[in-house]
């Protein structure tokens, strides 16, 4: 899979148009392919079963080059969060009060993913009231297809 980086033509500021799209490398491409199918998967070593993130060619525990992609439950907790303010790239500046969060996965707390907390998979990045963000809050993954055609995981509060 090699998603296009061409900016989308839809310019409504709350639609997510012109947000940056992931540019996968060889190691990361399967993550985005599974995400496009609505699956959250993490690279695992086929030699020793250790999970690793971000993906890379070789297992740091046993040096095996054999790997597979393990499906995760999609449940996690907020590990930390920030609320970025300008100066920002224009598409993000158009979403005042948006959040960026780090989620630690319930099934593998050492695996942490950067994402966004939203009210629904396709809702804007600033759809959650900032006051609702809390370290430790349980969250679950949802999948959003961006205007450029790439699907990314986003996060919903378990108890909205």
């Amino acid at each position: 899979m090699s998603p296009s980086v061409t900016p989308a033509t839809d310019n409504r500021p709350d639609s997510g148009a012109d947000l940056l799209l992931p540019v996968p490398d060889d190691d990361g491409a399967p993550f985005w392919e599974y995400a496009a199918r609505g699956e959250l998967r993490v690279q695992a070593c086929s030699g020793c079963d250790e999970l690793r993130f971000p993906p890379r060619p070789c297992c740091p525990h046993c040096q095996s080059f054999a790997a597979h992609w393990q499906r995760m439950s999609g449940r996690g907790r907020i590990w930390s969060y920030v609320l970025p303010h300008p100066p920002l790239l224009p598409a993000y500046a158009a979403l005042p009060g948006y959040n960026a969060i780090v989620v630690e996965l319930a099934d593998a707390p050492r695996i942490r993913l950067v994402g966004n907390l939203v009210t629904a998979a396709d809702a804007p990045l600033n759809s959650v009231e900032p006051a609702r963000l809390r370290i430790g809050a349980p969250v679950r993954a949802a999948f959003h297809t961006m205007p450029g055609g790439v699907t990314v995981p986003r996060w919903l509060l378990e108890r909205p």
Binding site: P22, V23, F53, Y81, V82, V114
Partner: protein, 383 residues
Amino acid sequence: MGATLKDATAIAGIGQTPFAKQLPASEKALACRAIVAALDDAGIAASEVDAFASYTMEETDEVEMAKAIGAGDVTHFSKVGYGGGGSCATVAHLAAAIATGQASVGVAWRSRKRGSGPRPWKNTQVQLPTPGQWTRPFGLLRPADEIGMLARRYMHEYGATRDHLFNVALACRNRANQNPAAIMYERPLTREMYMTARWISEPLCLFDNCLETDGALACVVVSAERARDCRQRPVYVHSAAQGLPAQHHGMVNYWNDDPLTGPAWTAARQLWKGADLGPQDVDVAQIYDAFTPLIPLSLEGYGFCGRGEGAAFTEGGALEIGGRLPLNTGGGGLSEAYVHGFNLITEGVKQLRGTSTAQVPDAATCLVTAGEGVPTSALLLRS
């Protein structure tokens, strides 16, 4: 026992240009001015320079510098990666080269037009593939966002507050108010200004972030023996270290088992291993301060306090002149100039010469550190 770096070399000269939000001269011209000033300070002819070291992000290169200043044959040159993590390592590489006979007069430098130049994080073409594919699309765009994420977690785990971060910003600003070369020389900071400042990336506000500066600095490294015949009192490189910890991932170290113990911890172990001194012997510290949270994290990493105690360490004026550990006595990156931390090296030299604008009486040892959060480096200097 093999060769040792301990006190084998010294910083014999320092030089700098003015600092400003905008300077008309090019980065190349600024670099030449800083290097020529540093050689003049040492009393060493440019034709004797045979080694250069700078950062991989430095855009003026050694070929141009050597030619412009009139260096002789150059037998050692090196560049260190990871932005502000490279500052102290430039001096360390020269010290190692000189201590092992690969060169005799080394110049380290940094010239940057960050005040009037582009912001590196805006170049998404460069940043979006590995590792940016895991962070940038979600709006984690700038170093301030990445460190803000760590800072929020640190505050949550250890009860650190914005008042602790203010203590850091204030100590640097107070020192800048004593330093006529500092950008913030005549601009005092109050708690109210800090608490009501605009956010950059909550929990970090404007005053938690370094300046954006045009300027250049340089220093000259020679053998300890040679330094004793130079114009200025030698400042010895007592110990030096770099640090890239196991499973580190750069500024977004969230995938490390323990993201709150960054590269400072690794550099510190090596730095103290090579020293006759420990943290308790440090009279004054120049700790890399692109963001205020880097100070408590570094205080812990370099062993001035225990894990989780870095924020509390800043209380009671500890970082002020007369406090337990006077910090960033020229004003640091937060209030003097942000030139990727090189001003922290030259300020360390000024303290040990006894010529700082915020002189710590009888300062004999100074810790200087490079950027925490990225593969880093550190120097322990002594008079």
